[in-house]
């Protein structure tokens, strides 16, 4: 691996974090039309980490990939403007996209990694829209590669990576041999801005369009959405004067055995 690692980074297009999400009137999902979208923030961190590895000459090539509608190309172009070398857009038809789940994306990414002879797959730990937190783990399982999830620090160490993970109550440091799957946590780095001159330059970088079938993946619904609901409106609290009163109220509401 003296030539430097080949890295694949997943970039999901999601509703922008600043958008106030609205549920569709028929409760089958949320309104996406005319709503600002951007790259999943955790994926942005993954792209940034890959670019830093390349700047340190640890990586030789960065391929970014996104599965979804035509507009995913904007997301990919942002990643290219940040410093990725080329992009693969897996165009998913609207009817398939509506039922696409992490398992489908995982299978596509796993196949892509084999095709591209990747040494490392860098993904966000989860997407901010469905909060699944599944893709990294499933890709690793499909490929039978080691995984290092929730990374807050990634260092190359010979033919392996030393990864610091954020876990409950502290940090865990693990070593994984390459090839491997790493998912980024919030504090791994602070992603750079895609500058306007780099956006222009990124237009010249190659972007290949593929279909799920090219990766032998068929997108079949594995679950049925029954209903999407707004979070319940928080009820007003009440103030109590004393501990006794508090206990009384808790007993009344059945939270404490009397």
């Amino acid at each position: 691996m003296s030539a430097g690692m080949r890295i694949i980074v997943g970039c999901k297009r999601v509703i922008d974090y600043a958008v106030k999400v609205r549920v569709k009137p028929d409760k089958t999902g949320v309104v996406t039309e005319g709503v600002k979208h951007s790259m999943n923030p955790f994926d942005e961190i993954a792209v940034e980490e890959a670019v830093r590895l390349k700047e340190k000459k640890i990586a030789s090539e960065i391929v970014v990939a996104s599965c979804g509608p035509q507009q995913c190309q904007e997301t990919l172009r942002t990643a290219l403007a940040m410093g990725a070398d080329r992009a693969v857009h897996v165009l998913v038809e609207p009817k398939d996209f509506a039922v696409m789940q992490p398992i489908h994306v995982s299978k596509i990414l796993a196949k892509l990694a084999v095709d591209e002879k990747a040494d490392l797959i860098l993904l966000g730990k989860q997407a901010i829209d469905d909060d699944c937190n599944q893709t990294g783990q499933m890709v690793a399982a499909l490929l039978d590669w080691p995984q290092a999830t929730f990374a807050s620090k990634v260092e190359k160490d010979g033919d392996s990576l030393t990864v610091t993970r954020e876990i409950d109550g502290g940090l865990e440091t693990i070593k994984v041999s390459l090839p491997a799957v790493v998912t980024s946590d919030l504090r791994l780095n602070e992603p750079r801005y895609a500058t306007l001159p780099n956006i222009m330059k990124a237009k010249k970088k190659p972007l290949a369009t593929k279909k799920p079938g090219d990766f032998d993946v068929e997108i079949k619904s594995t679950q049925e959405i029954l209903s999407v609901e707004d979070p319940p409106v928080r009820e007003a609290g009440q103030k109590v004067e004393s501990v006794e009163e508090l206990m009384e109220k808790l007993k009344e509401a059945g939270f404490v055995k009397s």
Partner: protein, 626 residues
């Protein structure tokens, strides 16, 4: 200070000064000619003064971006917005009275300093429309940063872009585009503000003819303390073909590195505090002769063209500010509960929000109409750009003011953010041509254009048989106006105006006819002396602004109705309401402009002002007598 005012007023009474002012206005008129006011202009604004609705520039609402430009712009806009939301802290910049260093570096890396510099010279090569979209984002977030960027590229080095030769462009633009060098525009002097022709800074050719030696000082120069490259305007002795030598304004590219360039401390200002404003002094600065910009003696034209070409950017930036104000007001009005009801259900608040939204709609439509016209290659957009600047700067002030009113005490607090916006906004009615001067500019440029056509009629009258067509046409128009009949302006029958807006378009047509008739009347009544009737001219300008606004929203709302966008019905309502209210204002203003009774009021106003000036302040005694 009071005494000096009194002295000025008595001086004004002297004929000498009046003649001087007259000469200045004539110069102004000359400038309008150099600004490509062709005999048969396609400008809507100019032809309005002839009572005509020239639709070529305004109908249908111009769409000038190709697919690639649109794609690029969308990505640029997203990233620019992201930068301003995450990295830039407007309140902190305001407090520190400087743009935070990290933000400044970020802006340079972002490419924000070379938006319109050609790609081959390391800029982004944006069209005017693309530029407008990005500065709109800047205007929505931080007007102070907007000034740092605008003083640099909208005026600071715009002269090199517009008038520079290849060597000058190659030499200066790449570093300017990268923000490695900052630029500034140096026109204003202590004794020369709106009257730009009166500058005192002088440049004299050295004995060996290789350099100009520049001496003088400039005030209130944005980026004056940061800039390396200055566009400087100075008087130079120019000898005409008759051998007479006269001082004329010449533009120069001056590098700080030439030596002799210094600047004062940053000024303490009301708003746009994070931008640097300073005096700049030039002491025996040696400028190589090849750094003349736009030819010796061509400086006035250079200056006016730079300002003229930059105004659309302010319109767009201010449309962004208005959008921000609407957003802030709506946020509050939608959640604040008083008297048991959300305050947006009260008529008082509803009227405010609707008026803010309408003004924003008008300003935004003007901004993109003007930028598109520029991109289409039209050269006559000076009236429209001036109207846009006036309307947007006053509209933004209105929106900020009403947003604060809706927020009440909260709006008055610093942390809310609009308090800063209000301070930042005040200067926009003052700089780059005060709105007062621009109103006169709009009225006089238009009247001059109409006057030329009227002269043709006068000439034709001397030989009525030979010019029967001209004479009959004009006589017919006058007769129709006398009878109150239409002179043929029929926007409402234009296929580009949606049928739903026919009534609104009728009002606009009527306003245009009334406007044209008023201009003819004024020309006949005052002739050339109309230029001395500033109070009349202001009413004319006010009517022109309203009419241009009507046409812009008629065009835009028609497009939205025909493409059936989700907001079409609201846009249609905003358009109709604006036309309704604007047409009433137009009628009032035009009636005032020609009425003898109002002329008496104007004369009285002048007298009152004279008395107050003579008195050095308020004339009457205090009601309590002490």
């Amino acid at each position: 200070m009071f005494r000096s005012v009194a002295r000025i007023s008595s001086a004004l009474k002297q004929n000498k000064l009046q003649n001087h002012l007259f000469q200045k206005w004539s110069e102004c008129a000359v400038v309008t000619q150099t600004r490509n006011v062709s005999e048969e202009s396609k400008s809507f604004g100019l032809n309005l003064f002839r009572g005509q609705a020239h639709g070529e520039q305004v109908f249908p609402f111009p769409e000038v971006l190709n697919e690639e430009q649109r794609d690029n712009l969308q990505m640029f806009a997203d990233q620019t917005a992201k930068f301003f939301e995450e990295q830039n802290d407007a309140l902190k910049n305001d407090l520190l009275e400087t743009v935070e260093p990290e933000t400044m570096e970020g802006l340079k890396a972002l490419g924000a300093f070379g938006l319109q510099v050609p790609v081959e010279l390391d800029g982004l090569g944006l069209t005017n429309t693309q530029y407008a979209r990005l500065v709109e984002i800047v205007g929505a977030h931080d007007l102070g940063v907007g000034i740092v960027l605008g003083a640099h590229q909208s005026i600071g080095f715009k002269g090199i872009l517009l008038f520079g030769n290849d060597e000058q462009k190659q030499k200066y633009l790449p570093k300017l585009a990268a923000g490695e060098n900052i630029a500034a525009f140096c026109l204003t002097e202590p004794a020369s503000g709106s009257d730009a022709g009166s500058i005192k800074t002088r440049a004299v050719l050295s004995d060996d003819g290789k350099h100009y030696i520049l001496n003088g000082s400039k005030i209130w120069i944005s980026n004056g303390g940061l800039a390396e490259i200055f566009t400087v305007f100075a008087q130079t002795p120019v000898t005409d073909k008759n051998g007479d030598t006269k001082d004329k304004v010449t533009a120069f590219i001056v590098e700080r590195s030439y030596g002799g360039v210094t600047n004062g401390a940053p000024e303490k200002k009301m708003g746009i505090k994070c931008s640097n404003t300073a005096e700049v002094y030039f002491e025996d600065v040696k400028i190589p002769v090849e750094n003349v910009l736009g030819g010796e003696g061509g400086g006035f034209k250079v200056a006016m063209n730079i300002l003229n070409n930059g105004r659309f950017g302010m319109v767009a930036a201010l449309a962004g500010t208005m959008r921000y104000c609407v957003h802030k007001a709506v946020d509050h009005a939608g959640s604040r509960v008083q008297f048991g009801k959300s305050i947006h259900t009260f008529g008082t608040i509803q009227e405010k929000i609707a008026q803010m939204a309408i003004r924003h709609y008008v300003a935004e439509s003007m901004a993109y109409m003007i930028s598109a016209n520029m991109d289409q290659g039209f050269k006559d957009f000076q009236i429209e750009a001036a109207i846009g600047k006036i309307y947007a700067s006053e509209g933004a002030w209105y929106c900020a003011d009403e947003a604060i009113q809706i927020l009440g005490g909260m709006g008055f607090m610093r942390d809310c953010g609009i308090e800063r916006v209000m301070r930042d906004l005040r200067i926009f009615r003052i700089f780059e041509g005060t709105n007062d001067i621009l109103r006169l500019f709009v009225a006089l440029t238009g009247i001059q254009y109409a006057g030329k056509h009227l002269k043709d009629v006068q000439k034709a009258l001397k030989n009525p048989i030979g010019n029967i067509g001209t004479v009959v046409g004009f006589a017919g128009k006058m007769a129709k106006r006398k009878l109150g009949a239409s002179t043929g302006v029929d926007l409402h029958n234009d296929s580009n105006v949606n049928p739903e807006l026919q009534d609104a378009a009728k009002k606009a047509s009527k306003a245009i006819e009334h406007f044209g008739g008023t201009i003819d009347q004024l020309l006949i009544k005052y002739g050339k002396n109309i230029m001395h009737e500033q109070m009349v001219l202001n009413r004319v300008a006010e009517a022109a602004i309203d009419i241009y606004g009507m046409v812009c929203v008629l065009s835009r709302a028609s497009r939205s109705l025909s493409t059936n966008v989700a907001s079409a019905s609201t846009e249609s309502a905003m358009c109709q309401t604006f036309c309704e209210e604007a047409s009433v204002r137009v009628e009032t203003n035009l009636n005032i402009a020609v009425s003898d009774r109002n002329m008496k009021t104007f004369r009285t106003l002048s007298t009152i002002s004279d008395e107050v000036i003579k008195h050095g302040g308020c004339v009457q005694e205090h009601p309590l007598g002490f």
